[in-house]
Every structure is written in C-alpha cells, then in structure tokens.
Symmetry: C2
Subunit: 453 residues, 2 copies
Amino acid sequence: MAEKDVSDADDPIVKKLQGRLKRLRKKLARAEAKRDLPAVSPLAPKAGFPSLPVIQGVRFAAGSAEVKYKDRDDVALIEIAAGSSVAGSFTTSKTRSSAVLDCEAKLAALLKEDKISQPLGLVVNSGNANAFTGKAGDGSVKAVCEAAAQVLGTSSGNIFTSSTGVIGEPLPHDRITGKLAELGTELAPDRAEASARAIMTTDTFAKGSCVELELDGKMVKIAGFAKGSGMIAPDMATMLVYIFTDAAINSAVLQKIVSAATVTTFNSITVDSDTSTSDTLLVFATGAAGNAEIRSTASKAAKEFAGKLHGVMLDLAHQVVRDGEGATKFIEIAITGAQSDASAHKVGLAIANSPLVKTAFAGEDPNWGRVVMAVGKSGEQADRDSLSIRFGDILVAEEGWVAQSYREQDGVDYMKGPELKLGVDLGVGDGAATVWTCDFTHGYIQINADYRS
Amino acid sequence: MAEKDVSDADDPIVKKLQGRLKRLRKKLARAEAKRDLPAVSPLAPKAGFPSLPVIQGVRFAAGSAEVKYKDRDDVALIEIAAGSSVAGSFTTSKTRSSAVLDCEAKLAALLKEDKISQPLGLVVNSGNANAFTGKAGDGSVKAVCEAAAQVLGTSSGNIFTSSTGVIGEPLPHDRITGKLAELGTELAPDRAEASARAIMTTDTFAKGSCVELELDGKMVKIAGFAKGSGMIAPDMATMLVYIFTDAAINSAVLQKIVSAATVTTFNSITVDSDTSTSDTLLVFATGAAGNAEIRSTASKAAKEFAGKLHGVMLDLAHQVVRDGEGATKFIEIAITGAQSDASAHKVGLAIANSPLVKTAFAGEDPNWGRVVMAVGKSGEQADRDSLSIRFGDILVAEEGWVAQSYREQDGVDYMKGPELKLGVDLGVGDGAATVWTCDFTHGYIQINADYRS
C-alpha cells in the first residue's frame, strides 16, 4: 500500500498538524511584531528604582508561586505591625473584581476603629487578576486571606489582597496559599523592591518613590511602589499602588488626605481612557516615627504630611504614565480659566483621552485644531473666542484664531521633545486642573492588537 | 584657498540645506507610510454609489473653486424650491464652527414659519473647514450666504452653508462667491452624485442612499448623501449629511422625526470618540410628490415616512463607519437588559469607544474581558454575575464567568470575519440600544500620526 500523501487535507492528523503549524506561525509573527518595542520605556526615570528607606513596622517578602509565570517572583506578602492605620482608594468600575470588593468592605470596617489592635497584612499576586471569575473568585480571595491571617497571626478581616494578570481564568489560589508560610519566615523590613518587582506584569520598569519630613522633631518616612502601564489591559496592566509610612496618624484623617490627593494624582492620569476592574491604592501608617498622632486634617502636621504624601503619589502616578503602553512622549496638560476646578479636570481628560490629540503628539504635529476639537467635545463651558492654547511657552492660538506671533516651525521644533506641556486657558472663569498622559503610537496598537493571550 | 568642506556643520548654508533634506526625508517617509493604506475602504458597499432618483424641486451643481484642492470639484450649490420644509441636527461641540452656528440660528427662525415662501439654498465646500477662524469666520459665512441668495433669488436667511477641511486657516470665501454665479447656471435635478463627490475630504468612497414609499397613492422619494470618515480629524473628516425628499410635510413635524431618528443613527456611531466642530445634518422636503401634507407625528403617513427616512439615515451612518479611518471590521454592538434605553446607549458607546476593545477586534482577538472592562467603566448599572456576552450567536460569558459551552476556537474563527456582532445583556432591566463602530488599527495611527498637514 502506498504511503498516504501528507498534503491530504482530509486526513484528521494532517489537519490537526496543519492547524498547530498555523497557530505557531501566528505566535511567531506576534513575537516578531513585539520585538521592535523597547525593553524599557524611553520615558522611564533615568535614576532607576529608588533606594526605599526602611519603614519601621513594615516587613516584606516576595517569592515564586508559579501562578502563571515560571521563572520570576509573582507573590508579595507584606506585614504591617499592630497599632497601625490604613486608608485606600479603589477603581469605580461597576465590574470590579472580588479582591477590590473585599478590600472596600474591610477598609470600611477598619475605618470605624480608632486604633487597629492586630497586625494588618497584604497579599498581592501577578499572573492572574481573579477578575470575572464568578462566585469562585470570592472563594479564592477568602482562601488567600485566611491563609495569610494564619501566617501573620491576625484575623482574616485585617488582610487585603490584590491580583493582576489574565482575567476570566480561575485563580489557582492554592499555589499562593501553599507559598505563604515560607514567605512568612522570610519577612524583612528591607525587601520592598523585591515586592515591587513581584507584582509587575507588562510594566517595563519597577516604580518606587519615597520622601522624608520632620514632624515634632521626629523624622517621618513615606515610601511606596506601584505597577501599571495602561489604565488596563485585561491580561496586563491594572494599576496597583501601596504606600507605607511610619507617621502616627489616625485612620479617618489618613483616609481624608488620601481621598483628596487621589483626585489630583491617580485620577488625573490616563493612558488610554480605559478603567481597570482591579485598580487599588492602599496607604498604611505604623506610627513608629513617634510624632504626636495626627488627629485633624486642619493641623499644621496634617498639612505638611499631606503635601509630602501627595508628592509620592504624584511621582508614582507620573511613573505609570511614563510606562504607558507604546508611549514615547510624557505630556502635561494644564487647564486654566475654566468655570470650576472640576470643569477644568473634565476638559483636561477630554484632551488627554482624545485619540486625535494623542496621535498628533505621536506624530510630533503641533495640531492645535485637535485640541480645540477636544475642548469642544468635553461638553464643558468654553468660548471659541476667548480660548488660548500654548505648547510649552509658545502661544499658539488666542481669541479664536492662530496667534499672530506664532510661527509653525516653533511648534514643530517644540513637539520633538520627549517631555511636553500643553496649556489651555478657557477664559471663562478661575477653575484650574492639570492632568498627565502619553502619546498614542503604533506601539500601543502593537501591544494590544498584534497579540493574543 | 581650499574649498570649504560641505560637511562643515558650522556653515549656515550647509545647515539650512541639511535641515531641508531632513524635512524632505520625513515627508517621503510619511508618503511611504500612507502608500500601504487601501485606496478604498475594504468595508465599502460592494454596489458602489447608488443611482439617486430625481427629487422634484431640488437642483444640484458642483464645480471647482480651488479652495484648497486644484484638480477636483470642491463646491456644491443646491437649490430647494419655494414652499419647502427643512429640519436639521448639528454637532453639540462647544467649539462649533461659524457655519454651524449660522445654520442653527436660521433653522430656528425657519421652523417658526408654517410654509417657507422663498427658495432654500445650500452651499458646501471642502478643503477648508472655516473652523476656529475667529470673527473672520463669521464674515466668510455671511459673504457666501449673500452671494448664494443673489444667485438663487432668495433671502440670505434661507441659505445654509457647511465647510469641511483644514481648520484655523481663513476661508478664501471670494473663491467660492466668485464661482456661485456659474454654478447657478448649471443647476440640474440629476447632479446629486457630483455634489456628493465635491464635498469629500479623506473619504475613500462617496456615500449615498435612497428609498421610495407610497403615501396617499403618491410615490414619495427620499435621497441623500453624506461625507465623513473619522468623527473628526481637523484637516479631514467632519460628518456632513444632506437628505432630500419630495414628501409634503410640515417643518415642525419633520424636525421631530429627524431629531428622533438622529439618536439611533448618527448619534449611535463612533469611529474614534472624537467630535467634529462642524457636523451637520439637513433634511429638505419639497412637497412635490403631492401627498396630503403630514402635519402630525401621530399620523399613519408620518410613521411610514419616519420609518423610511430612518432607513436612509441609518444606511448613511453605517457607510460613515465603513469608511472609518483605517477600519477593517464593521462592528455592531447590541446592548440588552439595561436599566433603560439611555443606559444601554451609554454602555454601547463605552464599549465602542474603548481603545482596548477596538484593538482586540483589530487583532481578531475574542477578548471578552475587555468588553467586561468597558461595561464597568461606563458607570451604568451592571451586575458582574448577571452579565452575558455573545460574539455573533456564540455565547461567550454568562453568570460572571466564561460560558461552559464556549470553545475559544469558535471565538477565534468568528473574529476573522469583516462584519461582526457583539451582544451584551446586562441582566438588570429591559433597556436596549444598538451602536456601530469599526476596529482600531495601525491604519488609524498611520493616517493621524504619520502625517502633517
């Protein structure tokens, strides 16, 4: 009998092999498409990850639970000493994940206590977001919290969790719970950076920030880290932020400061207008610095602390934008002369989220017409004839028309820089706001379209 | 004396020439980048531009005024006979153009009259949008209206204008007014297609649609055309729509029908979430068909007419999406089970405008997780555990998780088609809405970033 022709399309084995070959070719094409992307964002801070100070009362451990990745740390366990305070802010998505819902409930309960008597804990994993995993997702959060509570000798209600990575796949939480005891033995105050790296997904660099201030003659430290490189890409880029301080501060006051600072930092950045189901910010304060406990937002100490915390939050927020998927330009958009600060914020985000504005920046095109369009679509009060626009210090348009002093070549030259400022004065009031974004490039399409998980 | 080395970077002439060479190289690179884009959208109707019927009482002329383009028609003059009705709908942009503001004021005045005794006129130019041109822009509109009124023997208050093309540059309106007398002598009932072509900018195909219906034993015709290929690109793609019918219908009733139909047609499409400063829809009814005048929206004739007009508007709206910049997929997004129709509409647009959803479609990736994310960010009422998602007839997710019957390969195969349907049931009410969009590709970035006017 003659051997069967391998090109025989009716043979099921041949068909199967051909299918496999086709999928492999596609995978290769995608890998090649991604090859040209820079390994680290060109906008990453030149100094690299900062040397975070030890925050007394906080200990970190990171390890590999092989949730999805095989050759890197993917779980962080963090212990915050008894007697600490906590505050937080979460995604407003209507489809937020089990972990976020759990964090919100626990934070609300803890904010009612004047002093949290038991230790707090935080478990973060990368590789799987445990999002849109139905009721099973709630079970996974519960299992991780119970295991972490046992390791840290605290109650399950004191454990916060975050998950980031693929969505719609059940979280193999037993891999995490099976690793926690070992991590518990490795907890150390100087291992924050390893935790920052364990929670990265498509981030091209780890993001950290720290600052010191003096309160009542005591040195107070604030240190934190973040991950995120698109507002969300479900297989990828949820924004998670954890900040630690040894300041003595009441939870309720800390929450007020954190909520206010979130508006002008993490809620003033956008990469692609999309919102994660899992975005989480948690701030822990151990009180170990020994300052007089801050119990009112009106106090001088509260204001000084709030200013420094805001700085750390803004630095981390900017780093997330600097790691925006495919970004080649870091863009600050300052709106002035709006009807109110809230109105200015909306106009700023309308500009920052406009694909036409973002592609103009990518093309180094001083296309102020697209800025006018975006102001118009924001729906906020604006007047064509009192609007003025600046690229950096260059006045581009005023009184409803291109400025007489504007030379196109100045705009073209300005747009070549990697750090750009766009100023828009609406001329209708005193409201002001600043937002930050990045440009919209072939790299973004490459990462999000030329790719299948 | 030795000749100066031409590579001497200090020589100002050499420097200048080098700069010129650099700019030319960049221009060439951009031309090459655009070369690969299809001349006509792959989603264009296969049948081409329809043969529009003559609408008695309407005459068209088109010609070249060289507003910007040198070798094609760029101005259309349209005359609508005395005794006609008119209705319209315009961009809600806060920075809308002089022509739009002028059309709005004139339409409001005309809607107060039961019968418009003098002829109506319409002048549309491409090449220059007369947008953000300050007070001078208002003057240009006035000049064009006065010249057209003289040619058509009517009052300036009866002339509507639209302009589309580059923004921020003064409209050389004398080129248009200088052409109108000639166009007046060329007016003919069968030249609608030439007008449709004269108003194109970055459109890759001319867009027309027509239908007939019988009212009171009389044949009534509706015919219209549109331009637009991105919601806006300031140098490019404002959406302009003009529809003509010989139906006898009162202006107020026509306006109600047009306003209602706009919601589910032109306001239910999105290419890139951006809004033009110049979007204009005008509908003219001459009454020449001889049907009994429609004077109430409740009448049977009104309902039949409204249904047919809606069909023409939806057809034109879909053609605009099919010409979306860089589009390779035409996507229908049907939302059901929402709290209200308005809520469903918002959820639909949140999905249709999400860069992550649109890039997933471009990548033929059945990434339902991104759909969940977009539902969540809409801010509308939704419940993770009652949400269900379909690609075509394939049930992908239900009860907060991937459907048991779903096979990934089915989703992958489905996404390969050029015409896709996404169904999302929110499971919280009876509200429904359908919106249409296209995918988000390298072509969009090419057109909008790799390009300077």
